[in-house]
């Protein structure tokens, strides 16, 4: 220790103290009487971490229950202001539109057509929990745990950008940046990192981890919809949502479609999907026939 020797040498208090020097050099060989090796300490530490079943976050609920308590309070307090503040905020997006929402914690949510999101403004910063039906893209600010509840699965956010699709029995989540934790009842939690996604089909009942092409995964925000080997019927359902039309089909079979459409023109969207599949279409106002 150069600097230590300097203190001894340059300081008149110590300079020539041989006893001090001897004492200090005798100390050279000492070390702390540790009882545990570093490896053992690490094992003990990781065991301690794994034992914490659900750490900072309580078990994820599939159907939120806190609304009941809020509702009974509403009846007693008739002030409209408080009523408005306590009740859940619901934002629904009809077919043919998308919406951008900013949550009380400044997180941003982009809702796809035919989707809705529900959350409670009061106390949101402490318990950031939203109920989603449909599809939405989330940009979550740093803070307390953020949970997305759907009828299918629940997602706990460790990161910031992700896309959730939950319609009927189909569930998809794609992690764009950061990491998310997906809770599947009866199975362990799954952590998804950037560029990884999870697909869950109630028919197969098996969650599947897939790689995500982030460029196309959330292109719906820009009005572009990409599909890779997706059943045609699902593609047509998305067209229904984007253009707010009803599609009647006859004998289209159950093939899969790979391609894309933009939501700025129903005509070109139908062309993009139907022509490659050798299907005919006819537009009658709000109804489309495909065969």
């Amino acid at each position: 220790m150069g600097e230590f020797d300097d203190i001894l040498k340059n300081n008149p208090d110590f300079g020539d103290d041989r006893e001090l020097k001897k004492f200090l050099s005798d100390m050279e060989k000492l070390k702390v009487p540790a009882k545990k090796s570093k490896e053992d300490a690490w094992s003990e530490l990781t065991a301690g971490i794994e034992q914490r079943k659900t750490p900072e976050f309580p078990t994820i609920r599939l159907k939120p229950v806190f609304y009941a308590a809020a509702a009974s309070v509403l009846i007693l307090i008739s002030s409209w202001f408080i009523y408005n503040y306590l009740k859940n905020t619901t934002v629904s997006v009809p077919f043919g539109e998308t919406a951008n929402i900013i949550l009380p914690d400044q997180s941003k949510v982009t809702l796809n057509s035919g989707s809705s999101i529900e959350y409670r403004k009061w106390g949101f910063a402490n318990d950031r929990s939203v109920n989603l039906q449909g599809e939405a893209f989330f940009d979550v600010t740093k803070g307390s745990r953020f949970t997305v509840l759907t009828n299918n699965k629940s997602i706990e956010v460790l990161g910031t950008l992700f896309n959730v699709f939950s319609r009927g029995n189909m569930f998809r989540v794609q992690c764009i940046s950061g990491a998310i934790k997906v809770d599947i009842p009866g199975e362990k939690e799954i952590v998804l990192e950037k560029n990884k996604g999870l697909k869950f089909d109630a028919d197969t009942n098996e969650p599947e981890i897939v790689s995500v092409d982030t460029a196309t995964a959330v292109s719906w925000i820009n009005g572009e919809f990409y599909f890779e080997s997706v059943p045609v019927s699902d593609v047509l359902k998305e067209i229904e949502r984007q253009f707010d039309v009803t599609i009647q089909t006859k004998n289209i079979g159950d093939r899969v479609y790979t391609g894309y459409f933009r939501n700025d023109s129903l005509e070109s969207a139908l062309q993009n999907v139907c022509l490659p599949m050798s299907l005919h279409y006819e537009i009658n106002g709000k109804t489309v026939k495909i065969w």
């Binding site: 300490a41 094992s43 530490l45």
Partner: protein, 173 residues
């Protein structure tokens, strides 16, 4: 032994392990230097790292160093025991198979006695800095960073510790 993927984020675990490898010894020893209680030190260092894991979302690897020592200090405050501080350092050098010459053993015992007395006389602040330098071989800069002090402050505490040692070893027990 390691935290399984799929449940724990791999990058978080790797980052946590790096922090552990870099500072486990330092934190354990720091607590030992303050208390002379190795069992307490080995327990509290676990608590420190568990806390770090719990708060990992809010902690940056690049600035975790002084946070670790602050946490260790805080945990110590809750565990304060009015116990006399006694150190039992072990000797690093290999002992020869054959018995040591009697006077060597005597000298060693004398040194241990002296060490106990001396260290007990040095106030905690100075003693901690002194031991971090002499036992852990940390530079003043490193000690300053860990304890959130200026290098000057570290030098001052070293100086004070040495003054006391110099005085104390004058008077042979």
């Amino acid at each position: 032994m390691t935290l399984p993927e799929g449940i724990y984020r791999p990058d978080e675990v790797a980052s946590f392990k790096r922090i552990f490898d870099a500072y486990y010894d330092g934190i354990r020893n720091f607590i030992y230097f303050k208390t002379g209680d190795i069992d307490l030190a080995e327990d509290l260092v676990q608590d420190v790292f568990l806390k770090v894991w719990d708060m990992r979302a809010k902690i940056e690897e690049s600035t975790v160093k002084s946070l670790l020592f602050i946490m260790a200090n805080n945990l110590l405050k809750n565990h304060f025991k009015h116990k006399k501080v006694v150190f039992n350092f072990v000797n690093n050098t290999e002992k020869e198979e054959t018995g040591e010459p009697a006077d060597y053993v005597y000298e060693e015992q004398e040194f241990e006695k002296k060490l106990q007395v001396v260290l007990a006389e040095i106030p905690e602040k100075q003693r901690t800095v002194f031991l971090m330098n002499r036992i852990d071989n940390l530079s003043y800069k490193e000690i300053a960073e860990r304890l959130d002090l200026s290098v000057k402050a570290v030098e001052k505490r070293m100086h004070q510790a040495l003054l006391i040692i110099k005085e104390k070893i004058k008077y042979k027990i």
